[in-house]
C-alpha cells in the first residue's frame, strides 16, 4: 500500500474512525479556531476605531489589516484540514472564515490601492519611503492571501454542496 493511497483512499476512512486521530484533529481544530478568532479581533480593532474619512488613516488602517492575514490563514487551514474527518460544522466554519478572508482581502486591496496615491502625495521625506514599503507589503499580502482564501472558499463550498447531495 503506497503512502498516497493511505492519504486519499479507503484506509483513511478506517483511520479517521480511530479515536486518537479524531482527538488530534479536534485539538487542532480548536487551536485553529482560536487563531482565526484572534486574527479577527486584531482586524476588527484595527478598523473599527479608525477615522475612515481621512485618506491617510484609511490607508494605515487597511494596510495594518494585512499583518493579521497569516494568522487567519493558519486558522482556516487548520479548520479545513480538520474538517476532512470531523463534523459538518467544522467544514462550514472553515468555509465561512475563508469567504470572510477573501472578502477582507478584496476590500483591503481596493482601499489600499485607491488611497495609496493620495497618501504618497501628502507625505514627505522618510514618510514617503515608509508609505511605499507599507503599500508594497500590504498589497502583496492581500493578493497572495486573497488568492489562497478564494481557492479555499471555492473548494470548501464544493465540499459542503457535495456533502449535502450525498
Amino acid at each position: 500500500m503506497g503512502a498516497g493511497k493511505l492519504i486519499v483512499g479507503e484506509p483513511v476512512k478506517a483511520a479517521t474512525r480511530a479515536p486518537e486521530l479524531t482527538g488530534t484533529l479536534r485539538i487542532l481544530a480548536l487551536f485553529a479556531f482560536v487563531f482565526a478568532g484572534a486574527s479577527l479581533i486584531d482586524i476588527g480593532l484595527a478598523l473599527v476605531p479608525a477615522d475612515l474619512n481621512a485618506v491617510d488613516t484609511r490607508f494605515v488602517a487597511f494596510a495594518s489589516m494585512a499583518g493579521s492575514l497569516p494568522l487567519l490563514a493558519i486558522g482556516v487551514l487548520g479548520l479545513e484540514l480538520a474538517s476532512f474527518s470531523l463534523s459538518r460544522t467544522t467544514l462550514t466554519l472553515s468555509v465561512v472564515l475563508a469567504s470572510l478572508g477573501a472578502l477582507l482581502c478584496v476590500i483591503g486591496l481596493a482601499i489600499v490601492a485607491m488611497s495609496y496615491g493620495e497618501t504618497l502625495r501628502t507625505s514627505q521625506g522618510d514618510t514617503r519611503a515608509l508609505v511605499n514599503m507599507t503599500a508594497l507589503r500590504s498589497i502583496s499580502s492581500f493578493v497572495c492571501f486573497g488568492l489562497a482564501f478564494v481557492y479555499g472558499a471555492i473548494a470548501g463550498w464544493k465540499r459542503v454542496l457535495h456533502r449535502e447531495n450525498s
Partner: protein
Amino acid sequence: MVERSMTEGRRIVGAVGFAMLIVGLASQVATLTARRPSWGSTEWEVAYFGEFSATLVIVLMGLAVLSALAVQQRSRWPKVVLAVVLALLGSWAMLGALVVALDMPLVWQAARNAGSPARAAGLKIVTVKAIALCGWYALWLFVASGFMVKSTVTKSR
C-alpha cells in the same frame, strides 16, 4: 515503510512544535524582564499585557502541535503536563484581562489628556485589544486544557 515515515514525520513535527514553544516562551520571558515588573503601575500593566497578548500566538502554535502529537501518541504524561501548562497559561491570560480591565478608567482618563486624538485612540485600542485577546485566549486555553484532561481520563479507563 509507511510506519517509519510516520514516525519520522512525527519527530519533525514535534521538533518544530518544541522550537515554536521555546522561541515563544523566550520572547515572553524577554517581555516580562525587559522592564522591572511593577504591579499597580497602569503604564507597565497595559504595556506588558498588550505585548503578552500580541506575542502569545507563537507559544500557542507550539502548544497546538505538541498537544495534537500527545493525543495522537496516546501517551499519558505528556497530556497531563500539557493540560497543566495550558491551564497555567490560561490563568495568566485571564489575570491579564482582569488587570487591564481594572486599569481601563485610568487609561480613558489619560486618553482625554493625551493631546492629540490619534494618540488617545491609540491608547484606547491597545487597552481594548489587550483585554479582548487575553480574554479570548484564556477562554480557549481552559477549554483546551479540559480537552487534554478528558482525553487522559478516557484513555486510562
